[in-house]
């Protein structure tokens, strides 16, 4: 159907594909979530998670637990699994795995720069960074005053360097410039990742194109909704959308001029895959949109495992684990705040 991947994939990728499918089997099930949703305290959650693969990471945590501790420890498990896969991978899989972490790298850069602008201690900011997005010179970000310095002093030697060409200016860093930088970097990263997957070809290109196009479309919708009523102009908004995806280019033209959620709905309902998402929402409401998008994403990620001999399973696994950690974070917050009736507002079941 694609190429002769079935004949050659297992030479270099067979071991890791088997590993990642084993990891996938360890994802929490609906029964696990039902037990977790009935917990009364965070210690109950810890007790239930001790019977899962998260057990060794949480067992030594003292009471009283905090929700951020649970999220941190669960993230450590993901990081350990990722590092195991990365150290065993050969090209081009190793580059593919590195691409998966560039989004976290961008978030960490923006966190350090924003925190420094607000005169926060660098060590405190480093503790809040996502471990998958760390790089050696990240602490040096605190000395940069504008984007040119940011690039010249630190980022030129990182994988994010090629993404800076569109946003290098000598303007001082402020909240608006940082926001535009964040979204411009992410746009460049997604486009680069998309091109890389296209070059790989075969099942990887097919499956990853679909997943990355969905990511690009979701970002376009979120940027539109979040920028309603802000100082961001229509042109600036349009420049933040990625140049691929189902919505590119005509959907983007219409989204750029939307002034409220109902206009966004009107644009999105013209596209059949997104009609089902927006049909779950009532008019004027956007609270459940995130959950609807997450549910659609999980469906597509699970489908990636239905085929063999492609790299999409690695991307899908990382994203599913991140969704699981988001679920655990939400359940923990609802339990800690005594709002268990709201626990199903944001939990997305994976199986």
């Amino acid at each position: 159907m694609y190429g002769f991947e079935a004949m050659t994939f297992n030479i270099h990728g067979g071991y890791l594909e088997a590993i990642v499918r084993g990891y996938r089997a360890g994802l929490l099930t609906a029964a696990d979530y039902n037990n977790l949703c009935q917990c009364e305290t965070l210690d109950d959650i810890k007790m239930h998670l001790s019977a899962t693969e998260y057990g060794p990471y949480l067992q030594n945590e003292p009471s009283p637990l905090h929700t951020t501790t649970i999220v941190e420890k669960c993230t450590l498990k993901l990081v350990d699994e990722y590092k195991h896969m990365l150290c065993q991978a050969t090209e081009p899989l190793s580059t593919f795995l590195e691409y998966i972490t560039y989004g976290h790298m961008i978030d960490n850069v923006v966190l350090i720069v924003t925190g420094t602008l607000h005169e926060r201690d660098v060590q405190e900011l480093l503790e809040k960074c996502h471990p998958l997005g760390m790089f050696d010179s990240i602490a040096t970000l605190a000395v940069a005053q504008n984007m040119r310095e940011l690039y010249r002093l630190v980022l030129v030697d990182t994988p994010l360097a090629p993404y800076f060409s569109e946003c290098i200016t000598s303007e001082d860093l402020d909240d608006m410039n940082i926001e535009i930088m964040r979204n411009t970097l992410y746009k460049a990263y997604l486009e680069d990742f998309y091109k890389f997957c296209q070059k790989l070809g075969g099942a990887t290109a097919e499956i990853m194109s679909d997943l990355l196009a969905f990511e690009a479309d979701r970002r376009a919708v979120n940027i539109t909704i979040n920028s309603i009523g802000t100082e961001l102009t229509r042109d600036d908004r349009r420049k933040l959308y990625s140049n691929f995806g189902l919505l590119y280019p005509y959907g983007h033209e219409e989204l750029a001029v939307c002034e409220d959620i109902d206009q966004v709905r009107g644009v999105m309902e013209k596209y059949p895959p997104y009609q089902s998402i927006f049909s779950k929402l009532s008019y004027g409401e956007s609270q459940m949109l995130d959950k609807a998008f997450y549910e659609e994403e999980v469906k597509r990620l699970c489908l990636a495992f239905e085929q063999q001999f492609h790299y999409g399973v690695f991307f899908a696994y990382m994203r599913l684990r991140e969704q699981e950690i988001r679920n655990l974070m939400w359940i923990s917050e609802c339990v800690a705040q005594n709002q268990k009736s709201r626990v199903h507002d944001s939990v997305v079941f994976i199986f």
């Binding site: 978030d107 809040k128 926001e179 979120n222 979040n226 939400w330 609802c334 507002d345």
Partner: protein, 195 residues
Amino acid sequence: MMEDQEEKGNAENGIGRQKQVKDEYLLQFLDSLDGYLTLLDSLSSTLSQGWLELASARHAMGASRINGALLDLKVHAAATSLKVSEQDVDSMESQPCFTLCKWASSDNGERSSGEEKSLSPQLRHRNNSQLSGIISSPQRQKSLSVFGVLVSPKLRSAQLSFERALETLVEIANLHTTMLSMFEQVHKELENTNG
């Protein structure tokens, strides 16, 4: 005899008026106590809603975008301040009156154009909520900009909830002083009766 009856009548009227005044103070005290308890309940549910919306925003935007490490430590004027003034009640005694000045910055001299809510229990001045929302919208967005310019609507809802909670707190403070003042009045009347 006629004079005795007149004096007796006057005395009875006086006692009746005193009883009426005592009942009035008692009713005012009970009304303020009821309002106080209702506001406490409202505050609790508004704060719960605000915290859950904040958690929801964290869930949507990610922990790296919404965390305490991003809060601004630079010295800057408070976006919202509290004014305490003395208010004369019945020309007898003064009680403190708390007024919230929302989204007013003394740095750029726009204090008079800031939204001011006088929440004295006797007379309430409330700006039109839609108009005040439009007027203070840039300042409201500015205070959220520590988390970025493009933030989720859930974070904005959380901000509104905490704003409402702050207004409720000021109402509670004013009602509390009224309640204490009414309690003093009732106590005085009881002492006068017993004395």
